[in-house]
């Protein structure tokens, strides 16, 4: 046994974290999302079972596999119709640069998808470049504007976020620039804390009234989404459905953030895999599965993740971090600037600093210029289209003429945990290990 053996409990990273807290007197705040090694059940623990003899696959390039996605059919007069089931989640102008917000809007529009405003209100350029824009109503109500709400295609009432359920957002002073301070009605350069709760309602009973208000404000035209951070998903989804949601968004613990305490990112919430399973179960148990649409978010990386989420019951998926990566997040360019903020390409989670080397999570005009809007939009469009193609490939291989026809039976579980969570058989068995 070497005397140089390191502790498994007080590993080098733990020692560094403790000493950083002791030095600074502050808890760690950062962006990006959980950095933990993935030891919890994920979509990687599922595998598709494409057709062989018992089912007939569709030809990849010859036979139709629809990706059209309609959301908000329960009460809204004008449900939103998207060409694809992969959407861009809400990320604020403030956390993101102007160029990033516009690039996301243009990219989503070019792919026939939607984008969402975020915790800082709507940018006019965002509306102008969106095909389908979802307007988020968050606890902070930063930038709340009825005129913006009334030109949106859907309203998303956000209760929580997967990366930090139960707490509000943060925008550190380096990002509260002139324009952001004006948009959010804040003093310049403050470390902005968002409230954890909405200012004018508390529980699910009051939320019923709030949903009615949003419907009255938008003349019952557009769908009302309710977004939940994944915690007590089974109960929360039922309550959101009772409150009158057309669409419920569940954001798993793998979801991203522009800035929040690291301890929330690492130690709160349910994995996205568990979230989608609980959400479907809840809607089925109240007879609203298929009536209330379900969107799943949180660490969705590619078409396989999205297809598995859809097979488990989601009507569509949100992507956030993956879309930023398409914009060059963590790309090995401007490496000096990564180093200057204590990061490196592929290991940058320094969105909170406002010094994003690739111009995405910054308000610095010079850094922002590094993100070319047109090129960024094209990459976002490409990613959305490729992810959709991947979903279609898997769906066709499973014999489905519509990506929404994917079902749990199209998959097997690679681990006992995934079998128990998803209610699908463990590979090598015909058993469902369900509680």
């Amino acid at each position: 046994m070497s005397e140089l053996q390191k502790s498994g409990i007080f590993a080098p990273q733990v020692i560094e974290e403790i000493q950083a807290k002791a030095e600074s007197g502050l808890y760690s705040i950062r962006g990006f999302g959980t950095l933990r090694e993935r030891r919890w059940p994920t979509f990687d623990d599922l595998t598709f079972l494409p057709c062989s003899l018992t089912r007939i696959p569709l030809e990849g390039y010859r036979e139709k596999c629809s990706t059209k996605t309609v959301l908000g059919t329960r009460f809204a007069k004008q449900p939103i119709a998207l060409d694809i089931p992969v959407m861009i989640t809400g990320m604020s102008w403030g956390a993101l640069s102007y160029n990033a917000k516009v690039a996301l809007a243009k990219g989503a529009a070019a792919a026939g998808s939607s984008n969402t405003t975020g915790d800082g209100g709507m940018l006019q350029a965002e509306r102008e470049n969106s095909r389908t824009l979802i307007y988020e109503v968050l606890p902070s109500r930063y930038g709340i504007n009825i005129h913006h709400m009334r030109v949106a295609d859907a309203i998303e009432l956000t209760i929580g976020q997967g990366a930090k359920p139960g707490t509000g957002g943060l925008l550190l002073g380096s990002k509260v620039s002139d324009r952001i301070a004006e948009q959010r009605d804040l003093p310049l350069g403050v470390d902005q804390r968002s409230p954890a709760r909405h200012p004018d309602f508390l529980g699910p009973d009051d939320m019923i009234i709030k949903v009615e208000e949003l419907r009255e404000a938008t003349d019952w035209q557009v769908p009302i989404f309710i977004k939940l951070g994944a915690t007590r998903v089974y109960d929360d989804v039922k309550l959101a459905a009772k409150a009158g949601a057309d669409v419920i968004v569940v954001d798993g613990m793998e979801g991203g953030t522009g800035a929040s305490p690291a301890i929330f990112q690492e130690h709160t919430g349910l994995p996205t895999l568990a979230a989608v399973s609980e959400a479907r179960c809840a809607l089925e148990d109240i007879g609203l599965y298929g009536t209330v649409q379900l969107i799943i978010a949180g660490g969705i990386r590619d078409g396989a993740d999205a297809a598995k989420a859809m097979a488990l019951g989601a009507d569509a998926c949100y992507i956030g971090t993956a879309a930023l990566i398409a914009l060059n997040c963590n790309k090995p360019i401007y490496e000096e600037d990564y180093r200057a903020i204590g990061a490196a390409p592929h290991a940058c989670h320094h969105c909170h600093t406002g010094r994003c080397p690739v111009g995405i999570t910054t308000q610095d005009p010079d850094l922002m210029k590094r993100l070319d809007v047109e090129q960024g939009a094209e990459r976002v469009r490409n990613l959305l289209q490729v992810m959709t193609s991947e979903i279609q490939m898997l769906a066709r291989a499973c014999g489905k003429s519509d990506v929404h026809h994917l079902e749990p039976e199209d998959m097997a579980a690679l681990t006992l945990e995934a079998s128990a969570i998803c209610g699908i058989p463990l590979v090598g068995t015909r058993k469902v290990f369900r509680h």
Binding site: I144, D185, P195, A217
Partner: protein, 236 residues
């Protein structure tokens, strides 16, 4: 003046009727028998005066821009929430979260306000002739909050740049709330505001503007600082 009888009609029908009258160029609309219904007259974006002849539930006058809403009774939670401009006047009392997140306009309450008056307000002016409950002004960002009577506990907690004035007693100040001197020009402006918005019968009974206490943020929560650990312990 156009009149709508709310008795037996749904919120949807009533708001549709209000919008229809506005589209027909009505500038004065009276809603009779509101029956404490929620969500009356929300998101009205025209310069119209709507008189509600009784009490209302949640969110009356919420999300308006430019309208004038007058409620002859009391109002439930979130009256005038997120308004951009206009006036909301309540002759009675209001529930929690009155004027929450307003970005402009004026909210005048003749009676008392419950908890979290002006929470997260981002502009505008809120005037309460009576008393207010706990945590008024919580996380308020801009604008002016005036309470002529007494203020409840944790007043003006965790604020950014809202200015508060209290004519009566303050049960206690919230985290980072501090008393600030009220100079003569401010007192004069305050007096003008009160005289402008409160009827003489209410204004006459209240302290002179110069006797109001001014409360602002101490700015210790504006930026993280490890030396303020205890204040953050309480704030978070």
């Amino acid at each position: 003046m156009a009149e709508i009888d709310a008795a037996g009609r749904s919120t949807r029908e009533l708001n549709s009727a209000i919008r229809r009258l506005i589209a027909e160029s009505s500038k004065e609309i009276t809603v009779r028998n509101p029956g404490a219904r929620h969500n009356l007259a929300v998101a009205i974006l025209d310069e119209v005066h709507i008189l509600v002849g009784g009490s209302v539930g949640y969110y009356c006058g919420g999300l308006i821009d430019g309208a004038s809403i007058e409620i002859e009774g009391s109002a439930g939670w979130g009256v005038a929430e997120s308004m951009l401009s206009g006036t909301v006047r309540v002759h009675g009392n209001v529930g929690s979260g009155a004027a929450a997140a307003i970005r402009g306009g004026t909210v005048v309450i003749h009676g008392d306000a419950a908890a979290r008056l002006g929470v997260s307000m981002k502009g505008g002016t809120v005037i309460v002739a009576g008393n207010c409950g706990y945590m008024a002004g919580f996380m308020a960002q801009k604008g002016t909050l005036i309470v002529c009577g007494d203020a409840g506990e944790a007043f003006a907690d965790s604020m950014y740049a809202t200015t508060c004035y209290v004519g009566g007693k303050i049960a206690n100040l919230g985290t980072d709330a501090v008393l600030a001197p009220l100079d003569s020009s401010e007192a004069e402006q305050l007096e003008q505001t009160l005289t402008c918005y409160l009827p003489p019968s209410l204004r006459g009974a209240k302290p002179a503007a110069a006797d109001f206490k001014k409360v602002v943020a101490g700015r210790k929560l504006w930026n993280f600082d490890k030396r303020d650990w205890r204040i953050w312990q309480e704030a978070l």
